[in-house]
Amino acid sequence: MQTKKMTATIDNLGRFRENPPVLKDAVFNVLKYAILIFLAFWFMLPLISCVITAAKTDKEYATTTVTQLPKNWFNIQSYINAFNLSNMGNAFKNSIIILVVVLVCTTLIGTQLAYVLSRFTFPGNTLIRGLFTVAALLPGIAMQVALYKMMVGMHAVNSLWGYIIMSMGTDVISIYVFIQYFENIPISLDESAIVDGASYFTVYSKILLPLLKPAIVTCVILKGVGVYNEYYAANLYLQSAHLKTVAIALYTFTGPQGSKYNLICAGVILTLLPMLVLFLLFQKQIYTGIAAGAVKE
């Protein structure tokens, strides 16, 4: 016998439906949001505390505890000090040069390779794909030991161009994304263009490249984030002060400056501000890129 009280109705499609238990749902809902807010609090706490501390003046920082709120939320003195101390202007200039050159070159190289690999069958096609897949397995840090010795030998340490060419290296994920994208563009498009007298290069540059735009945007953003945030290789190969990128400009704050957290926090926020803007503008493309990167693995 049914002991639990149950209500049911017939809905407008004639299906027999149990009415949702309202109270239980409400409890679950509250619990769901409570967990979400709790976790969001912990995830944001490190960043929010940085914003709070960065808004304090030197004197305020010395006299208050870290959880006390600043008097003036819009005090930008620490930001200005941090910017000047770490020579951030020069760092942004270097980062922008590196980003522009690396992104333009990797996009060109990547799309060209993907075009050839996806459109032509030739001996070595599978081999090249295999070489790129295996390269993705090798962890970058481990490779740097031998790479560094090579770069020393080529006199490419402490040179912006050496670093740029090294960063262009292999970008396996974007090549895979491009290949996938090419394979979804019907080959009849190429063929009709060739019948009309276009060369292979024209087909690539005038017809396929414009169609590839969404994939290019995704890959440029992801690669851009990677290049902008790269600190290990940058620190290894760009040692002189005038070559520092944004990611390693923060190293200024180790040593004697190591406890002035209002400056450090301001510096941290300055470096991640471009990422925040990028994220707010291109959320969807970033999520797509992350998902596409996983598929290949």
Partner: protein, 352 residues
């Protein structure tokens, strides 16, 4: 445009090897492959080969290398600091249980209608976009005695004296780093899971609801099986990730107080102590371990998904076999009496 190019690129009846060689095609292939392949070889395979070579020498970055054979590899086992550093990955493996279950839980919630869902998604994901050095400073600040983490715990009723030094106390500091690692990478895994969950056919949920399945049952029987591939992939990746953990300990503690993971140690041996040979040997050993795991992953996938897509695979195999048989017949080389299997394949292909 010459007639030969059109003909060679458009007539599918002529087999590849019988077509006249198309120079334009050859040139474009060489031109477009040259730069990426050069970069790949110079910056990946050449250093890789050299690294394997270095591992048999005692050498510095500058100076004459001495051949020492397997001595570097012997040192990996005998040095008191190297093998224990590999044990630290156990912390990160344990952390990845939290990491993956948190990502799975949040992805399941955020894949459906939630107030401010996009905001939450963004909040959890954003740490992934912050550069390593900044993460290091953020957590040094966060964990400093009496600072953010301690303050919040004090609000919750803990007294400062009962709290450990999060980054110095050797019994707890690796867990602090694991927390930072979860903070940084959880969002990325969550986005992967959300992508997989979003691609599930919505009508399945409706059907399950009509059948009276509650949310948990829906999760267990619809969502979990659908994202099995990406879930297993992430578990495997987190094992290799834990073995090669580098960034988080490197930027937060620089490996001090017993937090030096294998790669942090390798970096120090290579660039501070300049023992390039030993560092190379360490890299080679971990690479082999990682490759073994990659191989195990393949085997695990074959085992876990052995029943999946069975029909498709079998059909493809049959089609391949039939095609081979057809080619043989076309070439006039087919045996008149085939054994049962081939005969069946051929008849299957013809729909008999």
């Amino acid at each position: 445009m010459t007639a030969t190019t059109i003909e060679s690129s458009l007539s599918p009846d002529v087999p590849d090897n019988k077509r006249p060689f198309d120079w334009r095609k050859g040139i474009i292939i060489v031109a477009f492959c040259a730069i990426p392949l050069t970069l790949l070889v110079v910056f990946t395979y050449l250093p890789f080969g050299q690294m394997v070579g270095f591992s048999f020498y005692r050498m510095k970055y500058i100076g004459v290398p001495h051949w020492v054979g397997l001595q570097n590899y012997r040192q990996i086992v005998t040095r008191p600091d190297i093998l224990p550093s590999l044990k630290l990955s156990l912390y990160y493996m344990a952390g990845s249980v939290l990491h993956i279950s948190l990502a799975l839980y949040l992805a399941t919630i955020l894949s459906f209608r939630v107030r401010c869902g996009n905001l939450f998604k963004g909040l959890f994901f954003f740490p992934y976009l912050i550069n390593g050095i900044a993460v290091g400073f953020i957590f040094k600040f966060f964990y400093t005695r009496g600072f953010i983490f301690d303050s919040v715990l004090q609000w919750c009723g803990f007294s400062l004296n009962s709290l450990p030094y999060w980054l110095k106390d050797q019994s707890i500091n690796n867990w602090s780093l694991v927390g930072a690692s979860v903070w940084r990478y959880m969002g990325q895994t969550m986005i992967l899971f959300i992508g997989a969950i979003m691609s599930i056919d919505q009508s399945l949920y409706e059907a399950a609801e009509i059948d009276g399945a509650n949310k948990f049952q829906q999760f267990l029987h619809i969502i979990l099986p659908s994202i099995k591939t990406i879930l297993v992939l992430n578990v495997v990746l987190s094992v290799t990730g834990a073995l090669s953990v580098f960034e988080i300990p490197f930027v937060i503690t620089t490996g001090a107080n017993g937090t030096g993971s294998y790669f942090v140690l390798m970096d120090r041996i290579a660039h501070t102590n300049q023992k390039v040979g030993l560092a190379s040997a360490m890299a080679v050993v971990l690479l082999i371990v990682i490759l073994i795991f990659a191989l195990l992953q393949q085997i695990l996938f074959k085992f876990l998904f052995r029943n999946q897509d069975d029909g498709v695979k079998a059909a493809k195999r049959r089609a391949r076999r039939a095609k081979r048989q057809r080619n043989r017949i076309a070439a006039g080389k087919a045996p008149l009496l085939t054994n049962g299997r081939r005969q069946r394949a051929y008849s299957l292909e013809r729909g008999q």
